[in-house]
Structures are given as structure tokens and as C-alpha cells.
């Protein structure tokens, strides 16, 4: 692999996005990184105040105390650490021990509950007139996009009737139920389970914040890719084209890997029941 990741990143990269700050904290030791971070923040102490940040911790080894150090530094400048994107299990453990929730990069980018498919008519029209930005600003105004990440109690499950087409995405804090198909090129992201009463051909990510016991159910499970918590699986071979009788299946994590079994079979031993 000709790319050298280490050579590329400056020590502390702070990226502002529409949903908050993304802090690139891939380098080690993290304590040295914290010092650089403090320097950067101190240069503009009021600039970031009141914001939220997601920590991109990479896969280099670290201790939970080091992560706590980062969180504390951020708090000094009025920034709340809202979650961590981790590229290895060890890093995820350390982050969790430090009290951070684990998010997928895609969730980090779009932590609000966002339902692209069921745009009310005015949002859709706004997109036609002015593109993505116009649609987003209308949605914000009318309150269809909503809750801040992590805020509020309880899940917001999403129930949707219709087919999700290529390029559409649905994300939810909670579980997602779709009565319809999910076409290839469409994307579902749920912190809970995903149930597709139809054919799932797109990408589904259940347990997006690290819940290994989440599951993906479909009347026809033919996904491009399945993700549960931090596990990713792609189907073997060419996409099967099944016709006629439906074969409902469920995908779960068993012994550290995603396994697909016929729905209706009694589930094998699980750590927790939902």
C-alpha cells in the first residue's frame, strides 16, 4: 500500500462541519497531541465555545486516561465531546471507558435524525429550486430535521412505507422499519435494529453506536453490505437474484462475525435479549 497515513496528517486537525467539530487525533502519544490541541484552542479561546466535537481516534494504542485528558481539555474551552470514531476494538474500549459513546463515521457526520426520503413537499421543491443547501435550510426552518445528537431520552424509531431508492438514506436513533424495498445505492443507519419488509439490496448499518446485539431483518436479504456495530460484511459472489418464494432472513453478530440465518429459527445464544 503506497499510502503512508502517518506522513499525511498534521498533529491536530480540527475540521468544522455542519454538525460540529471533527478532531483528528490519530497520532500517538495522545498526551503530546493534547498539548498541541490546547495550543490550537488557546489561540482562539472563544471561537469554539459551546460547540460539540467528535473525536477521530484512529487505531493507535491508547489508554482511557489519555482520552479523558482530551475530553477535559475540550471542556476547558467549552466544547463538549460528543463521541468517538474508533478504528480498532482496543481504541473503542478505551474510549468507552472514558465515557464516550462510539459512533460510526457516517453517524458522526449526520448525528441528527435525518430522513431524506420523506421530505415534505416543500423540502423536495426547495431541492429542485436551489439544490442541497436550499433543502437543508428549509428543513431546518420547518423543524423536520431535528433533534441534537445524543440529546433527549428514548429512541426515535422510524417507520417508513415505501421503497428507498438509490442515493436515498435514512438514519435514526432507534430502530428502522421499512415496508417496501431498499434498493442498491440506498443506505440505512440505525442505532437499533433494522427491519425491511421487502428486499434489502442497499447498505444497512444496525447498532450504529456500537450495539453488537442489533440485528437486520429482511424478507429478502440481498444487501450490498451489512454493518452491525463495528462489524462489516459483504455477500460472497455475485448478487443472487431470487424469484418466487420469499426467504426471510436475519443477520446478527455471533462470535465476532456477522452471520445470516433463516428468520423463524430460534436465535442462538446471545449476550442480551432485546
Amino acid at each position: 500500500m503506497p499510502c503512508n497515513g502517518g506522513r499525511e496528517a498534521p498533529t491536530v486537525q480540527i475540521k468544522g462541519t455542519k454538525s460540529g467539530l471533527l478532531l483528528h487525533l490519530h497520532e500517538r502519544p495522545l498526551t503530546a497531541v493534547v498539548a498541541k490541541l490546547r495550543e490550537r484552542l488557546a489561540a482562539l479561546p472563544q471561537f469554539y465555545r459551546g460547540g460539540r466535537a467528535v473525536l477521530m481516534l484512529g487505531d493507535g494504542a491508547l489508554e482511557s486516561q489519555e482520552v479523558e485528558g482530551v475530553v477535559a481539555t475540550l471542556e476547558e474551552f467549552g466544547i463538549s465531546a460528543d463521541g468517538a470514531v474508533c478504528d480498532s476494538d482496543d481504541v473503542a474500549e478505551a474510549a468507552r471507558a472514558a465515557g464516550l459513546r462510539i459512533v460510526a463515521a457516517s453517524v458522526a457526520a449526520a448525528p441528527r435524525v435525518r430522513d431524506d426520503r420523506t421530505d415534505p413537499a416543500d423540502v423536495r421543491r426547495a431541492w429542485h429550486e436551489g439544490g442541497e443547501d436550499a433543502a437543508r435550510s428549509i428543513a431546518r426552518r420547518s423543524g423536520t430535521n431535528g433533534k441534537p445528537a445524543g440529546g433527549g431520552s428514548g429512541a426515535q424509531n422510524c417507520y417508513y412505507k415505501g421503497t428507498l431508492r438509490s442515493g436515498q438514506s435514512l438514519s435514526a436513533f432507534g430502530s428502522i422499519v421499512i415496508v417496501g424495498d431498499v434498493n442498491a445505492g440506498a443506505e440505512l443507519i440505525a442505532t437499533g435494529d433494522i427491519v425491511v419488509w421487502g428486499t434489502l439490496r442497499g447498505v444497512a448499518h444496525a447498532g450504529a453506536e456500537g450495539d453488537d446485539s442489533a440485528a437486520v431483518y429482511a424478507l429478502r436479504l440481498e444487501p450490498t453490505q451489512l454493518r452491525i456495530a463495528r462489524h462489516i460484511a459483504a455477500a460472497h459472489g455475485e448478487a443472487k437474484k431470487t424469484r418466487g418464494a420469499l426467504t426471510p432472513e436475519v443477520a446478527r453478530v455471533l462470535a465476532g462475525a456477522i452471520v445470516v440465518e433463516a428468520a423463524g429459527a430460534p436465535p442462538r445464544q446471545h449476550a442480551s435479549s432485546r
Binding site: P2, G5, K15, L22, S106, A109, E132, Q225
Partner: protein, 262 residues
């Protein structure tokens, strides 16, 4: 500063940009080069499908541009070859999700790490097109010997600033050229006024690339594979004759069209 970033563009849709990007990339990798292919068609991505890498996409060029991942995380290594990597486009976004400056930075980064970078451009001349050419040093303009395609290629050639541009003439049907129902490669060259990088005959073999994710250039036994190898070598600066070596019917006709092409 390496001048190794090529944008594969056309103006007209459906003339074979993505197929050319995929097969040329494979051919270059088979010649031992380290190649990065970038899909700049955000929202209508197809390069991943054509390469058969769709199932392995985790991060894409928009994630990289917005800082959600590192470069190596957005690159998918093609397991069939040494040295071929794909940076996919996002499907759930649109062209306004990245800026020209961001695309330039991505191209710059890849240019340092790879021998050759090919950027698959979307159809048209809008924002997506401008994004795709932003980081490119040179252009490969794909066209067909057909009036609408040539007209669009001509427009595109006028939008490439002073970048060097070479042509790939796709879907040539020698029997139609002979009967006067299709422009010849010479005609195309005259009208557009640029050198020719390669000529690709119309051949149903290509459908395996487009529909099955198996680029035809992977298999040296396939007729079209030789065509892309020649194209790759010419891209690398070798003075290679474009006429293929096969001698069955359709190909001898093609050969006679190409005699004297350099």
C-alpha cells in the same frame, strides 16, 4: 511535481468514460504501475460497479474531502491485481458536496502516492465536471464516431484550459465506416484536432465490464484486453502502433483504418 493526474471526460454521456477509466487502470496496473482511480460522479457513481468493488465501499471521496477519514481508508485495493486502487464517489450526496479546492487536494495527495491517477468525470459540463478537472494535469477525452458525441467532445476540449488532451475513440464499427455510415477515426482526429491515445472497436465483450464488474482488460485472452494494453503503453509515453495484432475479420478491417495512425 509529477504530472500524472488524468481526467477521463467526454461531455456526452454513455460514450464509455467509466469503462475506459476502469480498463485503462487495469491495463496500467498489469504493466506494473501503482494506479489510483477516482470516481468523481457523486450521486451517480458507477466506477465501483464496473470494477466489481461495490460491496467493499466503506468510505468515499466525500468522506475524505470532509475529513471523516484518512486517504488510505477511502481507497479500496482491487484484490485481483497488484497496484490498482479505487476511491469511490458517494451515492447519497450530490455534486455540491465537494468543492473544486477539495478535489484538487485529493488529486494532489494521490498524485504523490501513485504512479498514475485517473479521474472518472461525470457527463456534462456542470459543477461535477469542474470538480473532476480541478486536480487534473491532462485530459483523456473519450468520444464515439457519432455526430452528437463529437460535438460534445469539441465543447469539452474548449473547457480544459491549456491542459494537454488526447482522444480515445470508442465503439468503432469498421464495417459501418467502410459503408460510409460512420465517421472514420481520421475524420474524428481532423474535426477535433487532437492526437489519438487509443481506438476501441465496438465489441460485446465490453458488456462483461459494464454488467458484471469484470473489466475485460483483466483477461489477456480477451481481444479488447490487447487494445487497452496498447492504450496504457501509449499513455506511459511509448511509441506503440495502435493497430492490434489479431487477424480475424473485423480486426483486419480495423487495422486498415488505423494504418498510419500514430
Amino acid at each position: 511535481m509529477k504530472e500524472n493526474v488524468f481526467v477521463v471526460t467526454s461531455g456526452k454521456g454513455g460514450v464509455g468514460k467509466t469503462t475506459t477509466t476502469a480498463n485503462l487502470g487495469v491495463a496500467l496496473a498489469r504493466l506494473g504501475k501503482q494506479v489510483a482511480l477516482v470516481d468523481a460522479d457523486i450521486g451517480l457513481r458507477n466506477l465501483d460497479l464496473v470494477l466489481g468493488l461495490e460491496k467493499r465501499i466503506v468510505y468515499d471521496v466525500v468522506d475524505l474531502a470532509e475529513g471523516r477519514c484518512q486517504t488510505r481508508q477511502a481507497l479500496i485495493k482491487d484484490k485481483r491485481l497488484e497496484g490498482l486502487y479505487l476511491m469511490p464517489a458517494a451515492q447519497t450526496k450530490d455534486k455540491e458536496a465537494v468543492t473544486e479546492a477539495q478535489m484538487e487536494r485529493v488529486a494532489e495527495r494521490l498524485s504523490q502516492e501513485f504512479d498514475i491517477v485517473l479521474i472518472d468525470c461525470p457527463a456534462g459540463i456542470e459543477h461535477g465536471f469542474r470538480n473532476a478537472i480541478a486536480g487534473a494535469d491532462e485530459a483523456i477525452v473519450v468520444t464515439m464516431p457519432e455526430v452528437a458525441a463529437i460535438r460534445d467532445a469539441d465543447r469539452i476540449l474548449g473547457m480544459l484550459d491549456d491542459r494537454r488532451a488526447r482522444l480515445v475513440v470508442n465503439r468503432v464499427r469498421p464495417e459501418m465506416v467502410k459503408s460510409g455510415d460512420m465517421l472514420s477515426v481520421e475524420d474524428v482526429k481532423d474535426i477535433l484536432g487532437r492526437e489519438i491515445l487509443g481506438v476501441v472497436p465496438d465489441d460485446e465483450e465490453i458488456i462483461d465490464t459494464t454488467n458484471r464488474g469484470q473489466p475485460v482488460a483483466l483477461d489477456p485472452a480477451r481481444r479488447l484486453s490487447g487494445v487497452y494494453t496498447v492504450m496504457a503503453r501509449r499513455l506511459l509515453g511509448e511509441a506503440v502502433d495502435m493497430a492490434p495484432v489479431f487477424s480475424d475479420g473485423i480486426w483486419t478491417k480495423l487495422r486498415s483504418l488505423l494504418v498510419g495512425q500514430r
